[in-house]
Symmetry: C2
Subunit: 404 residues, 2 copies
């Protein structure tokens, strides 16, 4: 296979060895063509696993339950429902999250402690447990239903987000796959980023945690649709070791795995940014020449989070003053007189001030599906990228629609 | 006069003793009915002074100059131009800020070190110094031109923002007055918050600094129009001691002054929030029962900064899930099961979950010019308020208009 990371055409979370999935429509979401609202990912054997979760002080009990299961580190399944966030419902929330795991435990014949749960949808409404009790046992697992699972976790996303890659590890083929949903919020309160990643790699649990944390910092933590953080955000990785590689026990040996994981996470993160509410295009901000990696990440995140940058891109306006303002607002170290700014590959700022450019070329560049805003700080060696949505009238219309 | 703070009807920055102002149209802004674009505030005698400035790493040299003058603490005048931010123009920016002070120094016959400058307008364009040289000497100072000054600092604000109050201090009448501009950003890059406060109080310089910092934290730092921070933000206070009160030399004795200063700053801050781009109404968020003052401030700021809360208010939607999300996103200490939420005075959440309410009453409440969103955390004694704009289609249309 060589050194490269190979995209698996049509691959999904069932591409890694030993994983199956299933999905069903239970009626938690309002009915619609081809809808699904409960999904399960299942591994034949126990997995080492890791997760990153919302930093919001208000947390869905589904997240609380899943955090608890990760401690035992013998995850074998995750049950996800869409249509209801199981959040801000008092003590009932944890009771329902636990019962969801219990129902799946019986139906899958595995221990309740090896089952994670995740929920996405309306805040403040209790999980409809009668539906959960009736439909979870009806879910059929197969290696063919990765795509069904991808559909079952969507709320108002316009499309599913899936990827699978493989790479050679000392003569063994290892596969990493991921699925995600974003936060297209036509319906109020439906704002959750969920991603589930499967792999057949054999890897030490602590190394897996570090790898996930690193990849999430490069990807999901670098996107902004509207700056608001959900109560249910979850990224979960399960690695079952079925690939049969020599177990990875140190960070040095995990480099190739991290590259594959980055490819999966960054792909999914960009898909989420692109599918943001009222949005059809992707803003990719790059900051180069920063003093520290943290500075570069922070500045790019500020650029893609700025309402003024988002509206300027929407208006095809190479408004570099706003980009400068956003970089400065991040309060990173910089020397204004060294800053260069590029739209796609056209330089519009040199030495911190405007430089002559062909205006029409920039407008054409800003009509592309991906608008790359690059800032070179020219004071260091570190760089980072972040991705965001435009801010459009449609976003405002959808999110102010009177629906409660 | 008693204990109260009295609003002075028709008062302005010339209401405190010993202050005059002047303004002119020099042509820095494009011409329009009744426009002005350079203004001066002048004190008969040197003032103790204090300022708070943008935290943006990209800073207008006008701010740099003014910070420097504050060190000498003998401020006697401030020269403000609108239409050009004097920012991101390389070394020329500081040269021009200094020359502006020089021109005013000659025309006012005072030391250059006693002159602050401030600029607001387009980023990346040099100050038109020929106009500055020609028109600053033509500015006539009088006690009648406070209103003219208020107009001269506007960019795309829809109205001027002025206030003056007086109070009794040991038998002496002391006056505090303020003027501000906000950031209605029809034109790209025109995003600056400027406020100038005058007082005839006699006060120690360090006490004045503390008082200003406290009031700014209660007011200007608690507003959000669109979350973006300008390169030119300035709040400047000048106190000339002309009231003739016994000089205030400790914080305890400054309590009444701080109350008056709070009234001035909070009034101006709310005016700015109300006048935000595409916005006609004011969101006032209150958080009560917080563990610390910082928690209360942080949570309220998150509420008024959330695009989802802003659009929900615009849509007259009592969408408490979004308020809960915003409070949680601020990562303050909370106990979800104790949270209460009120829209105006109608309770919609008790014990962290939805409580029955008359839906129509809430919709009517949300049609008011001021929408008060109150969160009681019920875990402590501290409280704070913050103010924000709605997010409307108009904001997006104006800020994406192709104008560069």
């Amino acid at each position: 296979m060589g050194n490269e990371i190979n995209r698996i055409k049509g691959g999904d979370i069932c591409s890694p060895k030993g994983f199956t999935a299933g999905s069903i429509f239970a009626g938690i979401k309002s009915p619609g063509q081809d809808k699904k609202d409960i999904g399960i990912i299942f591994s034949e054997t126990e997995c080492v696993s890791a997760g990153t979760f919302t930093q919001n002080s208000v947390v869905s009990p589904s997240v609380t339950w899943t955090k608890q299961t990760l401690k035992d580190n013998k995850l074998q399944a995750v049950v996800v429902n869409s249509g209801c966030a199981n959040c801000a419902v008092g003590d009932q929330g944890f009771i329902d999250a636990k019962e969801t795991a219990e129902i799946a435990s019986k139906s899958l014949s595995i221990s309740i402690d090896s089952i994670a749960v995740a929920s996405t949808g309306i805040i403040g409404v209790e999980l409809p447990m009668a539906l959960m009790r009736k439909f979870i046992p009806k879910i059929e697992l197969s290696t063919k239903d990765g795509a069904g699972f991808a559909r079952s976790i969507l709320t108002t996303d316009k499309r599913t987000k899936e990827i699978a890659v493989s790479f050679d590890l000392g003569g063994t083929e290892v596969t990493v796959a991921g699925v995600a949903k974003g936060s297209g919020m036509i319906h109020p309160n439906m704002a959750t980023m969920l991603s589930f990643i499967t792999s057949d790699i054999s890897i030490d649990s602590n190394i897996l945690k570090e790898a996930l944390s690193e990849s999430v910092n490069n990807s999901f933590n670098q996107i902004s649709v509207d700056g608001d953080q959900s109560t249910n955000d979850t990224v979960l990785i399960m690695a079952n070791g079925k690939a049969g590689n020599k177990k990875i026990t140190n960070i040095e040996d995990s480099k190739r795995f991290i590259n594959a994981l980055d490819e999966v996470c960054i792909f999914l993160a960009k898909e989420i940014a692109k599918d943001g509410e009222g949005n059809t295009r992707l803003i990719e901000a790059s900051v180069k020449g920063a003093k520290t990696l943290n500075d570069a990440r922070k500045a790019t995140k500020y650029i893609v989070s700025s309402n003024l940058v988002k509206t300027a891109v929407y208006g095809r306006d190479p408004n570099w003053g706003r980009i400068m303002m956003a970089v400065g607002a991040s309060q990173i170290e910089l020397d204004e007189s060294k800053i260069e700014i590029f739209v796609n590959d056209i330089q519009i700022v040199a030495d911190g001030i405007a430089t002559p450019y062909n205006h029409q070329s920039v407008v054409i560049a800003m009509n592309q599906p991906t608008i790359r805003l690059t800032v070179n700080l020219n004071i260091g060696e570190e760089s980072a990228k972040a991705w965001g949505s435009e801010l459009t009238e449609e976003y405002v219309v959808f999110n102010s629609a009177y629906t409660t």
